[in-house]
Amino acid sequence: MNTLLFFPIAIPILVGLICLLTRKQDKVPREALTVLTALASLALSVFIFVQPDLSISVRWLQFTSSLSVGFDLHTSAFARFTLAVIAAFGLLAGLYSLRFMRSHPRHREYYAYFLMALGVTSGAVLAENFVLLLFFWEMHGFLLFLMAGLNGDSALPASTRTLMIAGIGDLTLLLGIGLLWTQTGSLSISGLSALALTPSTPTLGAAFLLMALGAFAKGGIMPLHTWIPAISTETPMTVMGYFTSLDKMLGFYLLTVLSLQIFDVSGWAGWLLMTVGAVTLLGGVLMAVIQKDFRRMLAFHSISQVGYMVIGIGTGTPLGVIGGLFHLLNMIIVKGSLYLCGGSVQYRTGKTKFDELGGLAKTMPWTFVSTLIASLAIAGAPPLNAFVSKWMVYQGIIERGGAVFPVFLLVAMFGSALTLASFMKLLYSMFWGDKPAGLGEVHESPWTITAPIFILGLLAVGFGVSYQWPVTALLTPILGPGAQVSTIGLWDSNLATLLLIASLLAGLVVYWAGRPRRSREADVFLGGEALDPEIYRVPGTHFYGPVKSMDGLKQAYALADHGSFDLYLQGALVTRRVSRWVYKYIDQALADFYQEVIPALLSLVGEVLHVLNTRMVLTRVLWALYALGGLAILFAPEQADLITLTRLIACTGMIGWAFLAWVETDLQRMLVLAATSQLGFVVLGITLSSGVALSYLATGSIALLVLFAVTYFIRRSLNTTSIEQMSGLAARMPVAFVFFVLAALWLSGLPPFGSFFSKFRLGVAAGEISPFLTIAITGAAILTLAYLLRPIRRFLGNA
């Protein structure tokens, strides 16, 4: 029985993958598969819903011997509820898509992602631990990105933004989960719930905030909301209706789990959530009022409505929380309906701008009625569903109390008023008024499109009129067994509805009775001249112009236009600026340092020495000093000062002549300088141990002999020893080249060649005296390689 829990996850994902494998033209089989899968998911979810808590655990990630995370699934009352809502909504959206997406060029991907999203969302909801939740959570974000990019290149900025914001949410969530884990040692949701944490310590507070940010990004809560309006105009309406709803469900699922089960939000956390909610609510609706395209307007409303839910959850009171969740459920219905209604209009007219629409009420009655119901519902008009949920949120605010609760109430109600106002604009622009000239004959959409939206409309009415059922049967169990929610001051809805219907009927009667009986329709004319009716058409776009020009709001809108409130945009700008700086002043500067500055410094020192070494004067002096030092050690081995002096001479020779070799342009002379430098190693070796010195002398001589020999052959064939003129030697004299390279590497002390062991032993012996000697040897060895690479590079280059 418990294995049942895998099916709502696995079936849609697998079928989605199968869809990807189908041929492009197999549209009908794909659609059939989708509907069947959605149906199966719904059936499963309903079946799971009526079961008591189920759980299953499969071994998954054994992090360490003592810490493991399983593939644990569990159905809490809340998870069951969410799962059922997702499945039901998935079926409706699937049905709607049949007609709407039929001619989309990426039909195959659409259905694949559609189903996979259904599966991973179910997975995130059923997950019993946060690692598994994150696993599905991130997959959903990626699917949303793929879906957002379906309309091709124009959608690219929007889909990129979507994924980046999802990424922000995912990563903050990950960090929050990690912090919570370090504090509690637990990753399981039920385990953490049992701890009854309060976000009172800085770490726990940070964990709460970070995880909440994750929920904000998914739920489209300010300040991580901007992906919703961005994709609203770039994706098919079904994606907006379906995917963003799933995202909201997930975001809210997590936010509720966090603030209801894991953390106690009666303190600052609750106030913070309520404030975020209020800002989201007001900001969203203010932006919605001024939009000119219904897709963007709906997007901002969907953000704004989320504000109510956040406030409700932030109250932390049972009434507020249930109100918030009920509002979520209602918004899935209402917003879904609105998106799909908009889709219906777009399907028939191909237009989405208010300017280009109008007068559709007569020709698209079903769409119109559904839109009207949904608009009234979202504005919170009784007796519709959102009225009840908003009322409950208000009650929650009052119940939480505190000094500032009236502010939240005020914001919430003001938000409702603006919502109503903006939907008047939408209804007027799309369905009332005059039809613009550019719009041809428009028919009602086919039933597969109108039926889902009408069903959603009916649900909006049903959940409003008999709100008791969803509240008590679906939502209250989430609070735990035996929980009860008393709705203060709520009405007897049956009586009220009867009265409302009666008054609506009375209004109709008055309208019919007062209608003018005799009338004549004529074209508009002025001074006998017929005028273009388009001039007299009042589009809804100009509604609420004053809102935009109000002091305070005017400036705010200007800032919003400028992207100042767009956290993503600002963040991206800052990131790009910082990245440029890092690239230029750290990475490239370091590259210049290693590739330009250091060689230049080497050359500088080398050139100075080179001038001093005119006619090899310095070199001859050094040879004499080497000899003297050698003799001194041979005859006065007890003289510590002499030994130190000899070592100093040896180091000077090792390093100084490497510099000289670095600037030398003649290969043969370079080798002489190299030999002089190498002799420094040997002299240093003599001061340490004669055995080491001998072995170094032996190995070094072999390498030098080879180098000299190769140079001899080169000179014989090229008649020059100038390095400059040896370009392309590698191609012409490959054998000589290979020997030269091998000997050069040998001389530099690179293993596996012979010099390496001598150099190592020299280093060990030197290390016993002083680490500086070792470092000097190492430095000289690196320089050796550096100057020997110069001719090699020339050999390899093109002639």
Partner: protein, 471 residues
Amino acid sequence: MLAIATFGIPIIGSVLTLIADRINGLLRNILALLTVTATLACALFLIPIAETAETVMLGPSTIPGFGFNFIIDGLGVYVAIMSALIGLLIVAYSVGYMRDYEHLGEYYFLVVLFLGAMMGLVLSANLLLIYIFWEITAICSWRLIGFFRDPEHLRSADTALLMTVFGSFFMLVGMEMVWHETGTLTVAAIRGRGISDLAMFFMFIGILAKSAQVPLQIWLPAAGVAPSPVTALLHAAVLVVIGVFAFARIFIGAFNLPPNWQAYTSIVATLTILIAGGAALVENNAKRILAYSTLGQLAYVYLGFASMTAIGIVGGLVFLLAHSLAKAGLFLCVGIIEHKTHTKDIRELGGMFRNFPATAIAFILCALTIIGFPPSAGFVGKMMIIMGALEGGKAIFAALAVLGALLSLGYMLRLFNAVFLGQNARWKEIREGTPGMVLTVVAFAVLSLLAGLAVTPLLDIVQVLVGQMTG
């Protein structure tokens, strides 16, 4: 015996390849493929031996500290199999990619030798022996980076060699000091011994230089001038991985990374993550973007190691594997496109999804791992690294690593969008690379995905080897 075969076969095979090149190109290719296949087979056969962590001593040596000590343990065999597998696929890809170029004998010789040195390195149990193989890889990489013999390429190759040798020579100084302080250079014998900070510092430089961590990172992006399969090899199989391996072998397995070094490593890793992420965001050369990505992602492995928590170390090793598989795939994907369009500049590219659908999908799947999206193994690896950093009390580093992860999402997305999406009128006609090349990138994509789907057994394996390593 099998251990010797594991690195002996490719080392001898590399010379045979060179000889075969004189005879026939096809023979050379077949020989190279066979040698690497045999290497992989040997490495796989080492698995049962690795379970008991066997040490092998091959003859005495008169040089102080040196000895032919080999160890066949989980860590070594894990990295060996990874490198050999990736190496094999890359050699297979090379057949198609490299066929029109000159000096192919040298190419296959160096690639196979490179792999052989890598095999020797991961099985070595003596610091000096590790060092010897270390430098062989440096020499191989030097010639492979400058393979095309363009002056700019040769300069990059020399930079790479000099910087890594700068590091490794100092590492040798560090080893000399270890010898001085402990009287042994065998990994097993120095286990648990404390050594001076200076010795640690010198060895640390060597590792940083090899793994191209800040501030010694610049040679790796510059090395992108190499042929694409070589770049993939350097980034995924043999070169930068060596630093990580040596860190695990020496600093974790032997010296138990002391707290102050945990902090230093974390600082370097975090800086690398952020600098690499920032640089990758503004770079326009596709291969350089991927190179910055490599050093940034390897820094995650170091961050995991630096936590010195079981979860961090396990996560680091899992991520190392995931990253290598994916990064090899990414470089080869870019290689296919570069091969056909002759450009690496993402501003010139675009709309390549239409021309290279299979490559594009392989690219996405590999990119998922780098970003750390589920269900790839990158998700689990990165998560464990961040959890390890948190558990190790390095919350700030964890937070910055999370920021870096966001940067990696940003630059991978930018790279993908710029190369595969959008419009491009210039290349309407070009199509996918040779079947062999496409198959290879698809194989890498599938392998990265498999690593994610089979993460449960993968974690179990890594668990065992970390247990062996930390005793």
